[in-house]
């Protein structure tokens, strides 16, 4: 039996049908009892289980390779991959600060236009960067090495470093099974792939929300009861009238796509960030995509997104929808760090300036007009998406020791 209904030339005729999902009906007062309806429970369950099954990246031949992970770790902390010799990936993405620098707009060689996102759960992304200009994690890792405002070492400088440094050369050989070659471009891309192997390993742990979600799944009343009442009320807003779930969907709390969240596009007076519109244009000009020669997967099995992505005027000012796991640790928020706290984010959507959104744009975003308590509830829910246990233990640069033992 099909769940579809069908018709021909039906734009007007469909208007009489019941709309199953309430697109926006305003925020109803939370029910006194915090039991969820069966439909709400179905929606909640779709945000797990966590962690999901991990899959290797077929476009990266060293995905999941322990030697590549160790080599990638060494590269991540390597300041000689910058033109000044002073900036490493970890400068803007310090692991001890949830892989972000806490600045609205990050500072590499210069201040850049956007916020440094956290590096949690990157392996689940479909697109990379705030504008999605990269279609793989290994390509994303090349971008700061190419951008002179960030690290800027470039293919030639990076390749030269790896060929001439004994430990890095050894790390490359262990990871890729051959000595660094003479082809700068290929060697450069391989560094991105080793970095990707390292970053793929950074998957967040379980959260209070996951415990609640799994208690729902197994009908564990005691487990459900342990979840705070405020978080339950916030969750109801999140999956219901707040409309958050349309974009922050699934176990990683993102649909992996792009949205105009109603924040300013201006980098500074007179200079606008085109967001996704610019990202797709960059993607199409890049040699480092899944459709190019550096993809290790001859079948291009993950390249459908790149092949079919569609550039539209409405992409202007859209930015990638971030996942929300560990969100309480990754302030400030939005693509240029314009909102300092989660409370500011809740307030932003509560008081959204609908005039700011593109005319004819999506109807998902509406001014929510949340009460103070509702905003606090939403924050309480978001905080339960953050791990209670200490963050990943990333305290020392152990990666550089990868080749202290003789090469076998």
């Amino acid at each position: 039996m099909t769940p579809w209904r069908s018709g021909a030339s039906v734009a007007a005729r469909l208007s009489g049908f019941a709309i199953v999902i309430c697109v926006f009906s305003g925020i109803a007062a939370p029910a006194p009892a915090l039991d969820f309806t069966a439909e709400e429970e179905r929606r909640i369950l779709r945000h797990g289980p966590w962690p999901p099954a991990l899959q290797l990246d077929p476009s990266n031949r060293v995905s999941g390779n322990p030697a590549a992970i160790a080599f990638g770790r060494a590269l991540f902390f390597e300041p000689r991959l910058s033109i000044s010799g002073a900036i490493s990936c970890a400068t803007c993405h310090p692991p001890e600060r949830a892989w972000t620098d806490g600045l609205p707009r990050s500072r590499g060689q210069q201040t850049v236009d956007r916020n440094a996102p956290s590096l949690f759960n990157l392996r689940f992304n479909r697109w990379f960067g705030w504008d999605g200009a990269q279609d793989s994690l290994w390509a994303q890792n090349l971008r700061p090495l190419l951008d002179r405002r960030e690290m800027g070492v470039g293919p030639g400088g990076a390749a030269r470093l790896v060929r001439t440094d004994r430990q890095l050369s050894c790390g490359y050989r262990r990871a890729f099974g051959e000595a660094p070659g003479a082809d700068d471009a290929r060697l450069f891309v391989d560094l991105g792939k080793a970095l990707a192997a390292f970053l793929e390993a950074q998957v967040t742990g379980r959260t209070p929300f996951d415990d609640f979600r799994d208690a729902l799944a197994r009908g564990d009343a005691a487990g459900r009861a342990r979840y705070p009442a405020a978080a339950k009320r916030g969750l109801r807003l999140f999956i219901g009238g707040g409309n958050c779930v349309f974009c922050h969907f699934g176990p990683a709390f993102t649909n992996g796509e792009f949205a105009d969240a109603g924040v300013s596009h201006f980098i500074e007076p007179g200079r606008v960030d085109p967001g996704r519109y610019g990202g797709i244009r960059k993607l199409r000009q890049s040699p480092y995509t899944l459709l190019g020669r550096f993809n290790d997967d001859a079948g291009r099995s993950t390249a459908a997104k790149t092949r079919y992505v569609h550039l539209r005027q409405s992409n202007f000012g859209e930015f990638r929808v971030p996942g929300l796991r560990n969100v309480a640790l990754t302030a400030p928020y939005m693509h240029a760090g314009s909102l300092e706290t989660l409370a500011d984010v809740a307030h932003h959507y509560s008081t959204l300036d609908e005039e700011r959104l593109h005319a004819g744009g999506e109807r998902i975003l509406r001014r929510l007009d949340l009460s103070v308590r509702e905003q606090a509830d939403l924050v309480a829910f978001l905080e339960t998406l953050t791990e209670k246990a200490p963050l990943h233990e990333f305290v020392e640069d152990t990666g550089n020791a990868v080749c202290r033992q003789p090469v076998q």
Binding site: T2, A8, I21, K305, H310
Partner: protein, 134 residues
């Protein structure tokens, strides 16, 4: 992974919404599933791969059209409640009255329409199926 949600018997039934006589069209030979969209000029059978369309993953469809000769078919998705379509433009390969569309993705939960825009010498018709994706 989300699945297409059954919306009850009324929603499950295929409805002929056009006012005129629908074009007769049997399920294509060899098909074991699929759904029918009846129009005034054409009627289509279509089937997705995978059969249950997930949120946020690419899928393809195959279709077969009954009616007069077809010149061109476009496939697209549309969220009427949100007034936006897909972020991907599928490629349609047409072979006579049958074809495939590859590269579709419904990137968020909610009410989606799958639209086949069919053109031929006799005119143009939009064949629409819809469901709620969760």
């Amino acid at each position: 992974m989300a699945r297409w949600r059954l919306g009850g018997p009324a929603l499950a039934a295929a409805l002929v919404l056009a006012t005129g006589q629908a074009v007769a069209c049997d399920r294509p030979e060899g098909w074991t599933g699929g759904a029918r969209i009846a129009g005034e000029l054409w009627t289509s059978w279509w089937q997705s791969e995978p059969a249950a369309i997930p949120v946020g993953a690419h899928f393809s469809i195959r279709f077969h059209l009954c009616g007069p000769p077809v010149d061109r078919v476009k496939a697209r998705g549309w969220m009427p409640d949100h007034r936006h379509g897909m972020n991907y433009r599928p490629t349609v390969t047409l072979n006579g009255s049958s074809g495939t569309a590859e590269g579709l993705m419904f990137h968020m939960p909610g009410r989606w329409q799958l639209i086949l825009d069919v053109r031929g010498a006799v005119g143009r018709e939009k064949l629409t199926a819809e469901s709620v994706l969760e």
